[in-house]
C-alpha cells in the first residue's frame, strides 16, 4: 500500500492473439499532481486508460488506484470504483447531444451517490455544483445551461466536459487529448482553467496528448514510450 493515487507495478497487457502492447515496470501519479503523458496514437494510450478505468484487466502486474488493487475488485465493483474516483474528458464530442448542458454536467452524480454527495457537500446541491463549475469555466449564461449540448461550440463543449469530469470532486481526472479540437490560444486557456479547477477540487490530473507544446505547463511530463518497455523493440529482444 502506498499513498500514491495511481501505482502501476510490472504491468503487462496484450490483446488476445497479439504481441504485448504494454509492459510498464513502474509508474506513479501522486495525489494533487498534474502529469502530462505524451503518447502518439497507436502507442497503447487508450488501452492504458482502459486499464486505469478498470474496463480491462492486466495479464500481469497490478493497477492500484487510491491503494486499491483493481484486479481484486469484481467487475461491477470496478465500475462503481471508477465513477466514484475518476472523471473523464475525451477528445471531442464528449457530451450526449440530446441532453441539456446542465444535465450533461450532472450525469456522473446520477450514477454515483458518492459524487452526488460530495457535490452537495461542497456546493450545496448537485444543481449548484453544475452552475458554479460551469461559471468557473467561463460559462455563466443561465440560458446556455438549458440548451442542448450540441448547440455549443467545440470550445464550450470541452469546458462542459471538464465541468462534468470535475463534479463531485473525483480524486483523478483523466483527460484524453481534450484540446486537440481547440486552437492554440484556446488550448492554453482551457488547460489553465482545468488546472485551477483540479486544484480547487483537490484532483490529480492525468493529461494524455501527443502535443508536446503543452508539456511545460504541467508539474511533470512523461512519454509513454519511456514508460513502456514493449514500445522499445531493441530492449525487449535483449530481455
Amino acid at each position: 500500500m502506498s499513498d500514491a493515487l495511481i501505482e502501476l507495478a510490472e504491468l503487462g497487457f496484450a490483446w488476445p492473439g497479439q504481441a504485448m502492447l504494454l509492459d510498464i515496470p513502474a509508474f506513479r501519479l501522486e495525489r494533487g499532481e498534474t502529469l502530462f503523458l505524451k503518447g502518439p496514437s497507436g502507442s497503447g494510450k487508450t488501452t492504458l486508460l482502459g486499464l486505469l478505468g478498470g474496463v480491462h484487466s492486466p495479464q500481469r502486474g497490478s493497477v492500484h488506484l487510491l491503494g486499491q488493487n483493481l484486479s481484486e475488485l469484481s467487475f461491477a465493483a470496478r465500475d462503481r470504483f471508477r465513477v466514484e474516483h475518476t472523471g473523464y474528458i475525451f477528445q471531442q464530442f464528449n457530451l450526449l447531444p440530446f441532453l441539456s448542458v446542465r444535465e450533461n454536467v450532472e450525469l456522473p452524480c446520477r450514477f454515483s451517490r458518492r459524487r452526488a454527495d460530495r457535490a452537495g457537500q461542497r456546493h450545496g446541491s448537485v444543481a449548484q455544483a453544475a452552475t458554479q463549475l460551469l461559471a468557473h469555466l467561463g460559462l455563466r449564461d443561465p440560458d446556455l445551461l438549458q440548451r442542448r449540448a450540441d448547440t455549443l461550440s467545440i470550445g464550450q463543449q470541452q469546458r462542459v466536459a471538464a465541468a462534468r469530469a470535475l463534479i463531485g470532486q473525483p480524486e483523478l481526472v483523466i483527460a484524453d487529448e481534450p484540446t486537440s479540437a481547440l486552437d492554440s490560444d484556446a488550448r492554453e486557456a482551457f488547460i489553465q482553467l482545468l488546472f485551477a479547477e483540479c486544484r480547487a477540487a483537490g484532483s490529480s490530473l492525468l493529461f494524455v496528448s501527443h502535443d508536446q507544446s503543452l508539456a511545460p505547463l504541467f508539474d511533470r511530463h512523461l512519454s509513454l514510450a519511456e514508460l513502456n518497455r514493449a514500445a522499445r523493440p531493441a530492449s525487449s529482444e535483449v530481455s
Partner: protein
C-alpha cells in the same frame, strides 16, 4: 427513474426514426384490434340474425342450405313445400306461431319474400327484438302492397306510396318482369342489421297474384293474361311455399316436433334448429376468420421486427453515446436497460397511438359499416381479451428489446471507454 429519462431523450433525438417505428407499430396494432373487433361483432351479429325461432322447415336438403336461403337470402331452395303441409304444422297444438316464407322473385338485386302478418308479429332477431316499422304500415288485404327493408328503401330511394315492379327470378338483371302488376310501398322497416334490411316483403297473396297467369315458368300471352284487378278478385291462397319458421309453446317439444317433421309422410320435409345451423355455418366461415386473425398477428410481428431493426441499426452509430455513458459511470446493465426501455417506450407509444387510431376509425366508419354491412362497431373500452392482446404485444416488444440490449451489453464491455466514431 433516470434511465427512462435518458431513453426518452435519446429517442427524441432520433425522433424521425422513432416516429416511423412507433407509427408502424400503431398501424399494426390498429389493424389487429380492428380485425378482432370486426370478428367479434360479425360473430355476434351473425348469431343474432334470427332469434326466437325454434325450427325452420323446408324441403329436404342440407341444413346450411336451408338456413342460407330462408334467413340469409342466399342461394335457392331445392324444392317447394306444399301449402297443406304448412297448414298441417301451423295448426299443431305445440306450435305457437308459424311464419310462411315464399321466395324466388327479386327487385333490382334485392330478394322478394312472400309472407303473412305473423312475420311482423313473431319474427325476431338480435336479443329478441321484433321488427319495427319506421314508416307506414304492414301490408294488408290488397295483394299488391310491399314493405321494404331499410337498406332497400335507402339504396333505391323509395318513399311510401312509390310504385315498383318485381322481377321474376333472383338475378340482378332480370329479363322477365312482373310489370303488369306493380306494387305500392306501404311500409318501410326500421334498420335491423340483418338480411331483413335487404328484403322486400309482400303478402303470400301478392306472390300468388303475380304468378297466377304463369304456366310452366313463363308468363301467359295474349288472352291468357290476367290483369291486376282480375287477380284481386281471385282466390290467392298459395299452393306452395318455400319454407316456414316455427315458434313453439314449449322449447321441450322442439326435438319431438323436429323428428315428427323429418318423418312427415305427406312429403319429404326437413326441420332444423337455427342455432345449430348457424353454428355449423359459422364454422365454415371460421377458417377465413382465423386466417384474418393470423394475418394481423403477423402484421404486428412485422411492426415489432421493424422496431428491432431500427434499434439494432442505431446501435453502431450510438457507440459514442454508450461510451460516454460508461465513462460517467453507467454500468453495462444500465446500457442494456436503456435499450429495453427504448423498445418498451416505442411499443407503448405505438400501442397507444394504435388504439387512438382504432377509435378514430371506428368513430368515422361506424355509420358506414352499419349501413353497408349491418355491423355495429361499438366505441367501447377494450375487452379483457383485447387488453391481454395488447399486453402480449408489449411483452413481445420487451423480449425483442432484449436482443439489442444484449448486443449493446457486449459492445459496451468490448468498447469500454474508448470512443469510436
Amino acid at each position: 427513474m433516470y434511465l427512462l429519462r435518458l431513453a426518452l431523450a435519446s429517442l427524441a433525438n432520433r425522433r424521425f426514426t422513432a416516429f416511423l417505428t412507433a407509427f408502424a407499430i400503431a398501424l399494426s396494432v390498429c389493424l389487429l384490434l380492428a380485425v378482432e373487433r370486426v370478428r367479434h361483432e360479425a360473430r355476434a351479429s351473425f348469431a343474432s340474425t334470427v332469434s326466437g325461432t325454434d325450427l325452420i322447415v323446408g324441403a329436404r336438403s342440407g341444413s346450411v342450405n336451408l338456413l342460407l336461403y330462408s334467413v340469409f337470402r342466399i342461394g335457392n331452395a331445392t324444392n317447394n313445400i306444399r301449402w297443406d303441409s304448412f297448414e298441417h304444422y301451423a295448426s299443431n297444438p305445440q306450435v305457437k306461431w308459424a311464419i310462411p316464407i315464399s321466395l324466388g322473385d327479386s327487385h333490382r338485386g334485392y330478394r322478394v319474400m312472400g309472407t303473412n302478418q305473423s312475420y311482423f308479429e313473431h319474427y325476431q332477431y338480435g336479443r329478441h327484438q321484433s321488427l319495427q316499422l319506421a314508416q307506414g304500415r304492414a301490408f294488408q288485404t290488397d295483394p299488391f302492397e310491399v314493405v321494404l327493408g331499410a337498406e332497400v328503401a335507402d339504396a333505391l330511394h323509395y318513399k311510401l306510396s312509390d310504385k315498383l315492379v318485381l322481377a321474376h327470378g333472383v338475378a340482378a338483371i332480370s329479363l322477365v318482369k312482373h310489370d303488369d302488376k306493380p306494387f305500392t310501398v306501404v311500409g318501410i322497416l326500421a334498420r335491423t342489421g340483418t338480411p331483413v334490411d335487404r328484403t322486400l316483403h309482400i303478402s303470400l297473396g301478392g306472390m300468388e297474384a303475380i304468378h297466377i297467369d304463369w304456366k310452366n315458368g313463363v308468363p301467359a300471352r295474349g288472352a291468357g293474361r290476367i290483369s291486376a284487378d282480375q287477380a284481386r278478385n281471385m282466390d290467392l291462397t298459395p299452393s306452395a311455399i318455400t319454407a316456414f319458421m316455427v315458434g313453439l309453446n314449449s322449447k321441450i317439444a322442439t326435438f319431438a316436433l323436429q323428428r315428427d317433421i323429418n318423418d312427415f309422410r305427406g312429403e319429404p320435409l326437413m326441420a332444423i334448429l337455427p342455432g345449430v345451423a348457424l353454428q355449423e355455418l359459422w364454422s365454415l366461415m371460421g377458417t377465413a376468420e382465423q386466417a384474418l386473425f393470423v394475418i394481423s398477428v403477423f402484421v404486428v410481428l412485422t411492426g415489432l421486427i421493424g422496431m428491432l431493426t431500427a434499434i439494432v441499426t442505431s446501435l453502431n452509430e450510438r457507440r459514442r453515446e454508450m461510451a460516454i455513458l460508461r465513462s460517467v459511470g453507467a454500468r453495462p446493465w444500465h446500457i442494456a436497460g436503456l435499450l429495453i426501455l427504448e423498445a418498451f417506450a416505442l411499443a407503448l407509444v405505438g400501442i397507444l397511438a394504435g388504439m387512438a387510431l382504432l377509435y378514430l376509425s371506428i368513430a368515422c366508419a361506424q355509420g358506414y359499416v352499419q349501413s353497408n354491412y349491418g355491423l355495429y362497431l361499438p366505441l367501447s373500452l377494450p375487452s379483457v381479451y383485447e387488453w391481454s392482446l395488447l399486453g402480449i404485444i408489449l411483452a413481445a416488444a420487451v423480449v425483442m428489446g432484449a436482443i439489442p440490449a444484449w448486443r449493446a451489453y457486449r459492445q459496451s464491455l468490448a468498447d469500454g471507454l474508448s470512443i469510436h466514431l
